[in-house]
């Protein structure tokens, strides 16, 4: 059994954002494509938590959706436990699908409002035929217990629960197919901080108990630092840095990683003055040439405007930056 559970190679996704055909003909415009992710490579080891951080438009959710088969990659391949994922083939994917699950951002949208909680959690069990008859609901009761709710809650509807409780229900559903790998897309960003702590603690406990592997998608660096072993930083659909968890926070390499860290509000009241971050994320339909970060980068020079930097290993992290590569910063 190999150590790597999930491998992503050259993952690229375009979205066709062209106007309708007739408008294009009349206004003499070409087709327009938005590059949501470009040539993304990473590996997730069994039992670890790998995090992808980035701001809106960085392509982190697109990557998550491609991994679980909600979106088809334009290019590249995804390998799960040595098997290449091919979502078009239903039968071959069926056994593979049971082994990964997803937790969504908005617990108010991720549970069907017309279903009983019990049926929501039982859906994966029934779909994969993991239990029959009365055993299904017994399993549901056990799962509810695992996530800190009571078996009696199965008879209620989602609207009877608070946001944090709903997220527990969503986690119970994700666990119900006994997966090894769970993609968590901003699992706490819709929750209040005190509830966020409960959910993050629960996710950690479950990881220890079931040996789960997580892919954590988040824009919140403090959550990412708390939860992950390794972190990938995304900017405009490209992975600019991959580093061990604590290392990224003590010694960020890429100028964008540094900027993100600087932008985190300082709760410790150390009096540290936040560094002003210049500018905003450019339009992904027409990204800047070369390194997409160069218009905001304090270390940009001629080469950054022409060539796209490739990830280079240094100091235990992979960084896609010419300034780092050439040892200028």
């Amino acid at each position: 059994m190999s150590d790597v559970l999930l491998k992503v190679e050259g993952l690229t996704r375009y979205f066709d954002v062209s106007k309708p055909w007739l408008n294009r003909v009349i206004e003499r415009e070409d087709k327009q494509f938005l590059t949501a992710t470009a040539d993304v490579n990473f590996e997730i080891k069994r039992g670890e938590t790998f995090a992808l951080v980035g701001e809106s438009g960085s392509g982190k959710s697109t990557i998550a959706k491609m991994i679980v088969g909600l979106l088809e990659p334009s290019e590249g391949k995804i390998t799960f436990d040595g098997q290449e994922m091919n979502f078009a083939s239903g039968a071959a994917m069926r056994t593979l699908r049971r082994r990964f699950q997803m937790i969504f951002q908005d617990p108010f949208a991720s549970l069907n409002p017309r279903w009983h909680v019990g049926d929501i959690i039982a859906e994966p069990i029934r779909t994969f035929g993991l239990a029959k008859g009365r055993d299904v609901m017994r399993e549901v009761g056990r799962l509810l217990d695992t996530v800190g709710l009571s078996a009696a809650d199965a008879a209620k509807f989602p609207h009877e629960f608070s946001g944090g409780q709903r997220q527990r229900i969503a986690i119970a559903r994700a666990l119900s197919s006994k997966p090894e790998f769970i993609v968590c897309d901003e699992p706490t960003s819709a929750l209040d901080v005190s509830v966020q702590a409960q959910i993050l603690n629960l996710m950690r406990d479950l990881q220890d108990e079931f040996g789960l592997t997580y892919l954590l998608i988040s824009h919140d660096l403090s959550v990412v630092r708390h939860m992950s072993n390794r972190i990938g930083v995304l900017y405009l659909g490209r992975l600019v840095e991959v580093a061990e968890g604590k290392r990224l926070f003590t010694n960020p390499k890429h100028p964008y990683s540094r900027m993100l860290l600087d932008a985190v509000p300082d709760l410790a009241l150390s009096g540290r003055r936040r560094q002003q971050v210049e500018g905003e994320i450019p339009n992904p339909i027409n990204p800047p040439p070369g390194c997409t970060f160069h218009p905001r980068c304090p270390h940009a020079f001629e080469r950054c405007k022409r060539e796209i930097p490739q990830p280079v290993a240094a100091d235990g992290s992979l960084t896609a930056c010419f300034a780092v590569e050439e040892g200028r910063i």
Partner: protein, 330 residues
């Protein structure tokens, strides 16, 4: 101490529903001094936005102010006519909301909106108003303000739009700016810029700020004092540094511990068990008592008053009552 700029006294806001009346705010009292930044934090549903809406007279019916008083520099404003309130909004109280798109009219250029607001509240010529608008946009950090002022809101990016909203809120020289989650809809890297602009420009003009947010980090960096709301009641209020580093109310303590930070070392976060009660099921006594690790008998019976702890600090918790009971020594 000088008369406060804004004084909220025992404010009660109620929403009648068919299953009984919900109390969204229950006897909330606080002051904002001239030029001060007061942060207001709490979980969703704790009543922070409703406090803001009550101050500017924009509570959505059937909700209503059912008790208490709001004073703006010695003038009572909670019982004004809608017409009189409209004159106060914009002129004396500026507003910045979460989504910049809702504050800006997409059909008018930024110039039209700014100039109209300025001239509604100030008796100056169109030309003077425009010059003022350009200067303001420049001040909030919009590059090439003189040219961009004639653009429509959708021409601006999210962060730039929020800067325009700040300019709009400040263009009539208000005494108080009410900012309700001003950075929540923005990217992390832009949030810091906006907070800085808001803080600097208000300080420059001597405008006080009431900053409503769920983000303790933003409060820590920006506010002078912070008020913590829980289930429609004020749990704790005091200078930011003291509340953050030495919280007294058990809820605030739990809240501060549950925030993951970039420097923390422990593997587990402090968590408060359970969740905030719904407004129709607030327990008797202290609203926090079922979740409180330091709860004792009195908490389940009597609602704690805000206890003055000195240094402009008040805590609504029986732990700090002079006649602390035996059972409380846990």
């Amino acid at each position: 101490m000088a008369e406060p700029l804004l004084s909220v006294r025992d404010l009660i806001v109620e929403f009648p529903t068919r299953r009984g009346t919900l109390r969204a705010l229950d006897k909330v009292s606080f002051d904002i001094q001239e030029g001060e930044v007061l942060g207001m934090v709490g979980e969703s549903g704790a009543g922070k936005s409703i406090t803001g809406a009550a101050i500017i007279g924009l509570i959505e019916p059937p909700g209503r102010i059912a008790g208490g008083e709001i004073w703006l520099r010695g003038q009572r404003i909670d019982n004004l006519s809608p017409e009189a309130m409209r004159r106060i909004r914009g002129k004396r109280i500026g507003m910045v909301f979460q989504d910049p798109l809702t504050s800006l009219n997409p059909l008018y250029t930024v110039a039209q909106q700014l100039i109209e607001t300025i001239r509604t509240h100030m008796d100056i010529s169109e030309k003077a108003a425009r010059a003022r608008a350009v200067a303001l946009l420049d001040r909030v950090g919009i590059p090439a303000a003189a040219r961009r002022i004639d653009d429509y809101p959708h021409h601006f990016s999210g962060g730039m739009r929020q800067r325009v909203v700040i300019a709009l809120a400040l263009c009539a020289e208000p005494e108080l700016v009410l900012a309700d989650e001003p950075t929540t809809a923005l990217d992390v890297s832009v949030q810091a810029q906006i907070i800085d602009v808001l803080k600097e420009i208000c300080a420059e003009r001597g405008a006080a700020v009431m900053l409503i947010t769920h983000d303790m980090g933003v409060i820590a960096e920006t506010a002078d004092r912070v008020a913590v709301l829980y289930a429609g009641r004020l749990a704790e209020i005091g200078p930011v540094r003291e509340v953050i580093t030495a919280a007294e109310h058990p809820y605030t303590q739990g809240l501060m511990g549950s925030i993951p930070t970039l420097t923390q070392t422990s593997d587990r976060l402090v968590q408060i068990p359970g969740s905030m009660p719904r407004l129709n099921a607030i327990p008797q006594g202290c609203a926090f008592n079922p979740r409180c690790p330091k709860v004792f008998d009195r908490c389940r019976v009597d609602r704690p008053e805000a206890i003055d702890r000195g240094g402009r600090r008040r805590v609504a918790c029986w732990l700090y009552d002079g006649v602390k009971q035996e059972a409380g020594n846990v």
